[in-house]
Amino acid sequence: MLAALALEQITCTFVSRDAPGQRYTAVRDVSLAVAPGEFVSVVGPTGCGKSTLLNVAAGLLAPSAGSVRVFGEPLAGINARAGYMFQSEALMPWRTALENVIAGLQFRGVPDAEARRLGEAWLKRVGLGGFGDRYPHQLSGGMRKRTSLAQTLVLDPDIILMDEPFSALDVQTRQLMENEVLELWAAKRKAVLFITHDLDEAIAMSDRVVVLSAGPAAHPIGEFAIDLPRPRDVAEVRVAPRFIDLHKAIWDVLREEVLKGYERQKRAA
């Protein structure tokens, strides 16, 4: 089957602006494919270049070597078939929640009335029915994340890229959001590339988990198919015996990398 998103031999080397001699290779020779409708998570120690990979997939960052294919087509510029949920605040603070949700529709020239109707519907779907006229600073962190989710999904992208979207949320809100995302994903079955440092979250949500080595020159060192039955509840699935087996298997691979990454950061400090 044709992959929705295929990263082929991606290498990203950054050159320091102040000292051109200093180079940092974040990821090296990474190949990763996401099938249509598949939910793939990438886990790895902090600073291993997970976000770099996602930015390459989004077309925000041009790789030093390698190519990206989107449904078979080589990617040039912004990946127009992908929606991106960022780790940090990405809402435009000068727009209300509704205006933020329909921003993408406006950029695409959808008539205003139609855009508003769709926007309202999506706000309802993420549980923010009456909050369309609030500005981002008037919303709580969880509500802002839901708005971001609606903003991304209202465009009905074929590929959804998520960069630790819930890392800033408290545990309870986070589990609610994870379940909501799973529900929305189950209804539409889009290809999802999900970046996280939380192994529990990765296993609970994904079809497949890819483990990245510690940076620099991070590369995939393990791939695990998650055969837990769906639909899942992220809180309940954590106590399933199969979940615990998988967690142990992946953690065995990941632990060494986490320690390695930690050592490296300590030495640099």
């Binding site: 930015n55 989004a58 925000l60 912004i78 990946n79 127009a80 992908a82 929606g83 991106y84 960022f86 940090s88 605040e89 990405a90 809402l91 435009m92 603070p93 000068w94 727009r95 209300t96 921003a103 993408g104 406006q106 950029f107 695409r108 909050f131 609030r134 500005y135 981002p136 600073h137 008037q138 919303l139 709580s140 509500m143 903003q151 465009l155």
Partner: protein, 275 residues
Amino acid sequence: MWSLIKPSQRTLRFWQIGVLAAVFVVWHVLTKPGLIPPIFFDNDRQAAFFFGEPIKIFARIWDWFFGARDIYGHLWVTLLETVLAFAIGTAAGLAVGLWLALSPLAAAILDPYIKALNSMPRVILAPIFAVWFGLGMASKVALGFTLVFFIVFFNVYQGVKEVSPTVLASARMLGASQRQLLRHVYLPSATSWVFSSLHTSVGLAFVGAVVGEYLGSARGVGYLILQAEGTFDINTVMAGILVLTAFALALDWAVGVVERRLMKWQPRSGETEKL
């Protein structure tokens, strides 16, 4: 009785007016010829000569507004100069700020010149503007423009530089073209910086207008002050200063109203409106 007027949030306005009244009373007592024996000056007329007398000053203002009614034309000229300098300066500052912030090479080339122009004491340009644009309104607008332009320019430049990279990347992922980025991301972000400088820039536009009039003109409140000063009519000079102060306060208030309407998306410090 004291508990009713004790300084507190409730009686704030009362005390503010009280301070003003006290200043005028002290002023009056110290300057009115014959009221108290001269402390500092040789005779009791000199204090009034140097500092004016509040009662005469208010009479002058009353005459301007309700007696001879001859100040409206001058006020109108000063207002028009201020508004024109402010509007043109803001528009130009916004345009050039956006342009330079989005083309780093042009910014790098022009950087030393912008720094030089900004550090130049620009009030000194007033005589040159008078030669170029004559003694009419244009030379005052030009002077106000040079003052307003740089304030707005630097704020817009900074505002565009400090657009959150995440918001920018997000807008691009949502499909915004370069034009749409300018219209929907850079401009609103820069606007918040412009508004934070608006109180300063409207004040400077006013300074440009009045200083320009003072240095040479045939109309405007600055001209009135210049005329009175020529005849040592200190009461009229003081009256002109009071009118200008009230006028500047009114302008500042108007800016505040506009700001509150347009910037309602910005969180105010201490505001707890989270849900």
